[in-house]
């Protein structure tokens, strides 16, 4: 293996592959994927601890373990953290790591843009959570931030500004990643890998990415409007100034409902990969599974007002959104039917990932059923903003998304590390998670139906909600222990896991044709795809379906150069964002030895931060694409 190295532009590009510099300047989709996973698992634990504090406070009536103010901050941050900092980036980790391997690509289309996505995710996560370290505390507006509670009048503290800026920067991360994935999937598939031969997970990556690029612009606009209301005296949401609070809800949910599918479609993709592998049978009704995913994504933009059935939309709008919402259950049901069809007639192997996949179907079905219930506005009038809804979306987001993401971790862990996670231990943790989850969230259905509203700091003893609340708290701790054990097992297995070999599950799709873990260049050859489930067909299929290989020419494989600039852009955005947050605040708020009298203006941090951002973007453009060549092992071609 030899490398040739050329430098372009003004400064030399970093060469070091290992250590801190290697990580900070990486453009390798696999390292970036691992970066996303580490960040997401960290925030999953943070959000989990927040949830446990919430549950402790609610364990018995009229408690005051946690003050109402802190409680409101906790549920705001729990929601924000889990949606934007745990589930989305964990999905992004799989998109990054697995998708290019599934399509036989060397990397994503824009490797540096990919790095920018990772750094913006980390910067955004830091910004949102930095609010904890200031006296006014974290935002206490709910993850949905309904106007006018978010206005300066009702929320003068900077917590809300941390939330706005953090979400904006996270939006950049999601958008950068999505444009990249769409370009990659549409343009960089291996020869012969037609769209209808794509693994379902890659299909769901594509659909989710489209949802992100269509759903994030509305939230970006809403956040800009809110920021202007708070800082520059506009009146988008201020009634006294002629604005409308309901406008926020519309824009937020035009983002917020597709966001729900952004969280669940990757999970459905993972399940659609894992079920066939452990049933040793192809996915039942592949075209319909793909198509129903697309229909869900499409309808996802037409149902946002079902979050607003109680806001007085009128009979026509309410009915229309109710019926559209009910329609979504058809493509969702189709997926469940097809998963059962996949199991039917197969040879089911109960490995840990398969247990999570089966658990997913059951729990997602439960969450879907309660979803059908409040698709009906008269029913929703009683269930909206009650614990019934809390039960519903935790069934689809933990029982759905998190179960599937854990399933993906157990399934692809050998791919990423070349090591196995212990199956017996994995099963014990699965049962812990499964029981804990149901014990924590099933009683919430009862609480909601008997009138307990959500986002409440405490409740009166006469209401009779103490038993379900108590057992819910017990369940939450069992679930917490389960999730923490899984994370510990991941860390342990990274170091002590048994070697896995190259295809431990006898899996079906193209990512299993590479080594475990894959070489830097992924494939030492260009794979020529002859069938869906290529790896399975190469092993068991007829001769004409076996994968072909095209050797690289004498230059070898072209690899992208590393770069500092994505990181510098993200740092610039961080500084600029902090400047906006502290705009108009006394300087002493940031550092005690600074003046009490003087206040920050946008010139103190935002201007330099933006300068740094634009300078880094300029240097990014100037350094050119670069690249060098690698020569793979001749053995790989055989």
């Amino acid at each position: 293996m030899s490398t040739s190295q050329a430098t372009y532009g003004t400064w030399k590009r970093p060469l070091k592959k290992t250590g801190l510099v290697g990580f900070l300047t990486t453009v390798d989709h696999k390292k970036i994927g691992i970066g996303y996973a580490i960040g997401a698992l960290f925030f999953l634990l943070v959000g989990g601890v927040e949830a446990l504090l919430i549950r402790l406070q609610l364990a018995s009536p009229e408690q005051n373990l946690i003050s109402a103010e802190a409680y409101n901050q906790l549920f705001t941050m729990h929601g924000t953290t889990m949606v934007f900092l745990a589930v989305m980036p964990l999905s992004a980790a799989f998109f990054n790591y697995i998708m290019p391997l599934q399509i036989g690509a060397r990397d994503v289309a824009f490797p540096r843009l990919n790095a920018l996505g990772l750094w913006c995710f980390i910067v955004g996560g830091i910004v949102v959570n930095l609010s904890w370290f200031f006296q006014s505390g974290a935002p206490d507006i709910g993850w949905f931030g309904y106007a006018p509670l978010t206005s300066k009048q009702f929320n003068p503290d900077i917590g809300t500004d941390f939330w706005i800026i953090g979400l904006q920067i996270l939006g950049i991360a999601s958008l950068a990643g999505s444009f990249n994935f769409i370009t990659t999937i549409l343009n960089m598939r291996a020869p012969g890998l037609s769209m209808m031969r794509l693994p379902v997970f890659t299909w769901m990556t594509l659909i989710t990415s489209f949802l992100i690029i269509l759903a994030f612009p509305p939230i970006t606009i809403a956040l800009v409007e809110l920021l202007f209301d708070r800082h520059f005296g506009t009146h988008f949401f201020n009634v006294a100034g002629g604005g409308k609070p309901i406008l926020w809800q519309h824009i937020f949910w035009i983002f917020g409902h597709p966001e729900v599918y952004i969280l669940i479609l990757p999970a459905m993709g993972i399940i659609s990969e894992v079920l066939p592998v452990f049933s040793r049978k192809p996915l039942f009704g592949y075209p319909l599974v793909v198509f129903s995913g697309a229909v869900i994504g499409f309808l996802g933009f037409a149902v946002w007002s079902h979050h607003m059935f109680t806001t007085g939309l009128g009979i026509v709008a309410t009915s229309a959104f109710a019926f559209l919402t009910m329609l979504i259950s058809i493509p969702t049901g189709v997926k469940i039917f097809n998963w059962i069809g996949t199991l039917w007639g197969g040879r089911i192997q109960f490995t840990t990932p398969m247990l999570y996949a089966l658990g997913f179907i059951w729990m997602f079905m439960m969450g879907g059923f309660t979803g059908i219930m409040h698709s009906s506005p008269p029913v929703d009038a009683q269930q909206q903003d009650s614990y019934f809804v809390v039960a519903h979306f935790h069934y689809v987001l933990i029982g759905g998304s998190i179960f599937a993401l854990l399933c993906g971790i157990y399934f692809w862990f050998p791919k990423v590390t070349g090591k196995l996670m212990d199956d017996a231990l994995g099963k014990i943790f699965f049962y812990t998670v499964f029981f804990g989850f149901n014990m924590a969230f099933f009683p919430m259905h009862l609480l909601g139906m008997t009138g307990m509203p959500r986002r409440t700091h405490t409740y009166k003893e006469v209401m009779g909600w103490e038993n379900p609340n108590f057992w819910s708290t017990v369940g939450a701790f069992v679930l917490g222990i389960g999730i923490a054990s899984v994370v510990l097992q991941i860390i342990y297995s990274c170091f002590k896991g048994k070697p896995s070999g190259d295809n431990p599950w006898d899996a079906r799709t193209l990512e299993w044709a590479t080594a475990n873990p894959p070489k830097e260049y992924n494939f030492g050859y260009t794979p020529v795809i002859k069938a869906r489930d290529q790896v399975w067909e190469s092993k068991y299929g007829p001769e004409e379906k076996k994968m072909g290989k095209i050797a690289p020419d004498s230059h070898g494989i072209h690899m992208p150069d590393q770069s500092w600039w994505p990181l510098v852009v993200a740092i610039g955005l961080f500084v600029a964002g902090m400047g906006v947050i502290f705009n108009g605040q006394p300087m002493a708020l940031l550092l005690p030895f600074l003046s009490e009298e003087a206040t920050f203006s946008l010139f103190h941090m935002t201007a330099p931060g933006l300068l740094l951002t634009f300078f880094a973007m300029y240097m990014w453009a100037l350094e050119g694409p670069g690249g060098y060549h690698l020569h793979p092992d001749p053995e790989e071609l055989e």
């Binding site: 009048q153 189709v334 079905m365 929703d380 009683q382 009779g464 038993n467 057992w471 369940g475």
Partner: protein, 377 residues
Amino acid sequence: MKWLTYIWIGILLLITAIAVPQCMHSGADATFVNMGGMQSTLDPQGPVAANQLQIFYITLWVTVFLFVTVGGALAFATWKFRQRKGDDPNYIPPQSHGHPLIELGLVIASAALLVVIAIPTFYGIVFKSTLPDYAGEDVLEVNVTGYQWWWGFEYPEHGFHTANELVFPAGKVVKLNLVADDVIHSFWLPKLAGKMDLIPGQENKMWIQADEPGYFWGQCAEYCGDSHAYMLFRARALEESEYEAWIEQQKQPSVTETFSPVDLGDQDEDMVLQGWALFMDHCVRCHSVDANVKGMAPNLAHFAGRTSIAAGWLENEPENLVHWILHPDKIKPGNFMWNGFPQPGDPKGAPLMEGLKDANLSEADAKALAAYLYTLK
């Protein structure tokens, strides 16, 4: 390792076995799943809530049917096609790809089930959004305003205001006009109707009706800031004659010439007079005692007749009232009675009205105030 798994599952099952019966019987009356609880939607007392519960049961039975059939198929497939001990792990089952007729049939079947839900849904939407025909002109109208963190009720027909306790005649249609003064709130009286939001600058409408006279609990259902959890209210459906009497009383001036002592230990007329003076110093700029004047804070006219204080969080009992006056911050975090009423334009600046934290009331002062308040019959 296998036996460890079994033991652990056993422990988890045991915890579940303890938890399930406990969750099934909760609350003072220990009805099944707390069905009869104070805010239970499973115990409707009026036509709107009854209709909504009926549709809920339709969705419940449809989904139970789906759970049994789809879940049954899933459980059966998982069991039947599992890899058994001694099976060849490398066995390859037939590689079937799907069956269009089965899939089409299932799509049509699920669409048909949705129609079962959709028709009563549409009926329910119309039902809750329009006043019923049988009401005719015989409708009581009440304007409801949501504030951080209390409720204002205005009876436009009679022109008076009251707070945190909605009184209306049983058997009569009550039309509620809902609006918020500050942030968004949501009016939820579970036993009578599902919720409707109160939004600043937008008037929403709903109607309720209680079949029988009764006492109901309600609560704000939209997160509205620090004390959202403490924003409750009560509703009293009275017999027609009792309601008429209540109306007559509300129309009388609340402040009487003679103070009548209530049971507050050793209080006397001096105490009531002292309370009156304190009220004039500290309270009256926000709290009106004239039912015809709205005020910035809950109207306290006819206060002695209310059953609850602090927006339904506490019962209207002398000790509660004294505690509430002395330390509202310990009962409702962030409330304006303690912190002062902020300037709308400058929430961090000097308050528009000073709060009780700057009033330094002693316990004797609080008792005197309570004595005065209980004279507001």
